[in-house]
Amino acid sequence: MMRFMMTLLAALTLWAMPVLAQGNGPLRIEITEGVIEPLPFAVPDFVSDSAAGQELGRNIASVIAADLNGTGLFRQIPSSAHISRITSFESPVQYADWRAINAQALITGAVSTDGAGRIIAKFRIYDVFSGQELGAGQQLVGTQDGWRRIAHKVADQVYSRITGEGGYFDSRVVFVAESGPKDQRAKRLGIMDYDGANVQYLTDSTSIVLAPRFSPTGDRVLYTSYETGFPRIYVLDVANVGRRELPTQDATMSFAPRFAPNGRTVVYSLTQGGNTDLYTMDIGSGASTRLTTAPSIETAPSYSPDGSQIVFESDRSGTPQLYIMSAGGGEARRISFGEGRYGTPVWSPRGDLVAFTKQSKGRFHIGVMRTDGSEERLLTASFLDEGPTWAPNGRVIMFTRETQGEQGQASLYSVDITGRNLKQVPTNTGASDPSWSPLQN
């Protein structure tokens, strides 16, 4: 009986502990469910003293808003809904007015020009509901024709300050611009801002070009050209559009090049005697090293961010699958085991994910998986999606989507790694094979 009473007392004590705890301290609750929705923000026109400056301030605010809106993580509150008007960069913010329209973040700025004709832009970011400035204000200086870059840099700072991740707006994309009918399609290399603005062409369309890839510093581009009739790899300097062919053996085909993170080494595929294997080449000396010797097809190599490993595509198991091996070669381990065919793997800049193209049940998908092959997630589905490339912050993927039929055309799309915010990237012509640059300096 005594033992029973002791047990009952112990159970009663344990049961009563939460009640006692509540009585002796603050009320404790745990929040585990929230919402995922774009964060409302307001970005009034950057103030300026001159009429020309006001237009510039309006344009800068417009680009900032477009950048943030385009992420799918933010939602602009249109200026028509603003209660307060920002007339001075130094004036105190009327938080109540911005709270009233549910603006959770506020970006204010001013733009002016100095004696040398350069643009000076200042900005501040506010957390409206807490009534505090987020970080310190900043100032950017740039050329007149570089105002879009200034706007992108401001948007990068806002994005980074609120989300905690690096931005990707001040970056560029090199791609294959396509024109003409499908059976006589002309292709040339193009380069543009990440949002499709400022398109320039790096080559003419006299020969087919494929798979351009930015260097880690964004100053050079590797690509494959059929100029000689055989696929050959070229390296092109973006600043002066100068180019040179990487030395390869005769009677071979070299393609699918990609820079190593050190920027001095290139990994690529080389077909010789009907067998395709992976090689690396030192760009300076031209010395090449063979990485694989399997009788199967090994292609589409991509380095890990630290340069220690390579993910690639191989059909050694009978169907194209993804494998990872050491950057120096050696035994590879398979990481894709799902149903279908996997290809064009690209290692995330963060190093945690691999983006890939998957063909399954007659449809193409862009997907991501962890580097051990787990947590595979398909983000898109269409007649033809392929060739993913990562944004510099590893949060967004751009890829090629081609529509069906004789009139089908390739275009560029982007999608968040959560699968949200799938949208087309505006281009003047057909576009394929995108490669995203790192953030510009």
Binding site: L12, W15, A16, P18, V19, L20, Q22, G23, N24, G25, P26, L27, R28, I29, E30, I31, T32, E33, G34, V35, I36, E37, P38, L39, L73, F74, R99, Q104, D127, F129, S130, G131, L134, I162, T163, G164, E165, R350, R363, H365, G367, R377, L378, L379, T380, A381, S382, R395, V415, T418, G419, R420, L422
Partner: protein, 379 residues
Amino acid sequence: MNTGQIISGAGHLAFIGWALLGGVFRSDPPPFEVVEATTISSEEFAALLARQSAPEAVANVDTPEPPAPGDSAPPLASIPDTPPESTPPPAQETAPPDPAPDVSEITPPAPAEVTDTAPVLETPQEDVAVVVPQVSPRPKPRPAPRVAPEAVAPPEPDVRIDEVAQPEVAPEEGAEVPQEPAEATAQEEAATEIVTEAEESKDTAPTSSLRPKPRPARPVAQAEAPTPTETPAPATTETPRPAAPATDQSAVNDALAAALGTGQQTDTAPSGPPLTSGEKDALRVAVQQCWNVGSLSTEALGTTVVVSVLMGEDGRPDNGSIRMDSFSGGGDAAARQAFEAARRAIIRCGANGFNLPPEKYDQWRDIEMTFNPESMRIK
């Protein structure tokens, strides 16, 4: 020999004699089967044995001699069959070709009269019963710009989007108490998870299924429409908030707390009855409606922050008192992002005061909220 022995001997003799002669040890003959037998002679028996014995082995077998090496194959004596006589079928006379039709007199059919106007469908009468189809596709989660714990149906187009849904209140003419006109509001459309294009187009559902689940109920505010009262509408702070229904556990906790003597608290400890589970749930739901993690980094989504806040008696948080007590699972930068998102949630949804019982203010004056986004990472 005495008389007793004589009597005993006589008795035994009589008993033995009765046993032997009286049939005590006689048993009935056992039953037996009768089998009919036939007598046969020795010759017939020998003939029977001869039929059952094994046949004799053949000692000498005539084996054919192998052909000599020089022997030629014997000529085949078969006579080829004569083909059967067949008579060719009589040639059929080819029918003379048909004369070319004379199309000169054929007139093309008159073109059908086609009008561009679409046929007008008859509007079914309202009281006509509609047969519910037996087969319907399985409902799939629809993509929505907002992901929330509870799915929310798309609001009416002319309804203002707000955190709290409420019906429109129009001033009623002749009412004893004037009512504040209020615009109808509804929550933004929401799904319970992120639906990618691949998942959206996936066609793995069976071809037939039960009826799809009903759409999410309209915002509950319709059921909570304010009813006219005889007194002017009181301020929010003075309105006694309806206590949320307590669960059995809370009732047990209340009883247990009372039994354990919660009155023996120190001066610094809160006084009064503790909040019920329902009341705490209401606070939790109110905060999570504004806890937007959509703009957080991956690392911040893996960071749990503990935030403390002091509350006013009107249920509003003291914004200046909100601070981060601790964090886990991420670095300083991620914790800062997570804390800012948590702070925004507390301030935004507490701007009009949380629904907390005023009589228990001592219990919720100091609140510690743990924001754990673990389940939000896999949405």
